[in-house]
Symmetry: none
DNA sequence: TAAATTATTGCAAATAATTACATAATATTG
DNA sequence: CAATATTATGTAATTATTTGCAATAATTTA
């Protein structure tokens, strides 16, 4: 049996059952579980399914959505969020960009903290419903289903009226010369508005996002005051330090 | 059974019952309560539910406590939502007011239904993230924590730019002469804007809300086209019928 | 065609994750 | 405050994954 036939069978079965088990596939296809695992690995790599312990499940309707990104690199994100918490003080007005790093930060807000949070992220707003002492302002607009943030002119208009103490940015990619970049034009525009509205701009980025770039430019790297990352790698961060950006 | 299937089951059950109990889940899923607890832990960590002693509750669209919420009026709301579904057709633009009745309606949207939904409700927007074919537009503004809707000038400004086929209103109180009333001025203003923006106005109200009134007026009762309720009581609805309002 | 290279597959040991169970600590209820 | 239920913690058993390696099959190159 050809490898392609196996892959085909796996996808068909996944479609039919909404899940596949390695043991079952191994039996169906008469190959070792190792091979099945490698097949699933390949399919996951191509984005055709999500590999989980013991088998695989289909992608959610919105591929690489917020929901799927949540939980990965969770420890790193918590490290970052822990550092970022030190910037927060009672009475501040904060802009919270969407993204899993900022979401983690919001989850870690101490109960007593009194903030006004302006956000374009539906999950962040939802999370803060449970927080006793934050004021939440949601920017309006069309909601993107994969990132679960609002964007568009309405979002930007609302941000234009805001002056916040800090803007926490969840960034896709940042690069010393290419600046901050993203994979969606609309979201990049919103991020830019957020940066303009914040007195200090703090980017939350796991180390693997440093030195990478995406198609749509948000702003120059010099717009940032601080980068909060999980692991301070001397080599990687030097270019940012040279530009006067604090990295912690 | 894959862990992901369990998580899926828990979320589905939570969706249906508005609560889950560890003992029950342990039995349903045939795993120990420890495992259920860990699953709930993980889901809570992802912000998908709120873990409480003995089980979990949804990121509540209702400000009630665990004990109070057990199934209150849930069946009635489902009856109402079921009737309201018949007004919905592909391609429509719909305004969805916040509230538990409208939330229940949104939960019951068939997967194929292609709508544009404009809402001021954070939980409704969140719910529709999962829906494959709706476009969601969230009105911006300050978020009220008890009702979990946005309100204020920003919300109203956004609604002024909208022309929707139907406005679904979740009403606190309605009365033949006092009209539609609410307990918060800001929310009443927003509801008024929604009514103005909708071609047809359909109110969702359990029978116990008929003939009651609250301090803040939203609009005259004649602004309504239709009232959808759970039990059509001839006596109670006659005044509305006399005013030319359909009641189903 | 033969030899060399590459890819695929299965196996086994080491590693890691998941789960159930026992027990201690904590919270809730009457 | 005692009785009960729930949660946290440590541990052991189970199960899955990773890794290196050898055997086989397929492909390329000489």
């Amino acid at each position: 049996m050809l490898k392609e036939e196996r892959l085909d069978y796996i996808l068909k079965k996944l479609q039919a059952d909404n899940k596949v088990l390695q043991a079952e596939l191994s039996n169906d296809l008469q190959v070792s579980e190792d091979t099945v695992r490698r097949d699933l690995e390949a399919l996951a790599q191509s984005g055709l399914l999500i590999k989980v312990r013991g088998g695989a499940i289909p992608h959610s309707p919105h591929p690489y959505s917020f929901k799927e990104r949540i939980g990965i690199h969770e420890d790193d994100k918590r490290t970052i969020a822990g550092k970022a918490l030190s910037f927060l003080h009672d009475g501040q007005t904060i802009i919270m960009d969407g993204g899993t790093s900022t979401f983690t930060l919001v989850k870690m807000f101490p109960a007593h903290l009194k903030l006004t949070v302006i956000t374009n992220s539906v999950p962040i707003a939802m999370q803060l419903m449970e927080h006793p002492s934050t004021e939440v302002i949601l920017t309006g607009g069309r909601v993107f289903k994969n990132s679960q943030v609002t964007s568009g002119l309405d979002t930007i208009r609302m941000l234009e009226k805001v002056r916040a103490d800090i803007c926490f940015l969840g960034v896709c990619s940042l690069h010393p010369t290419a600046g901050i970049t993203g994979i969606d034009l609309g979201e990049a525009e919103v991020k830019y508005s957020m940066i303009q509205a914040g007195n200090r701009v703090i980017a939350l980025a796991t180390i693997d996002k440093m030195g990478t770039a995406e198609p749509f430019k948000v702003c120059d790297i010099t717009e940032l005051d601080t980068i909060v990352t999980d692991r301070v790698d001397e080599q990687l961060i030097q270019p940012y330090l040279n530009l006067g950006i604090k990295v912690i």
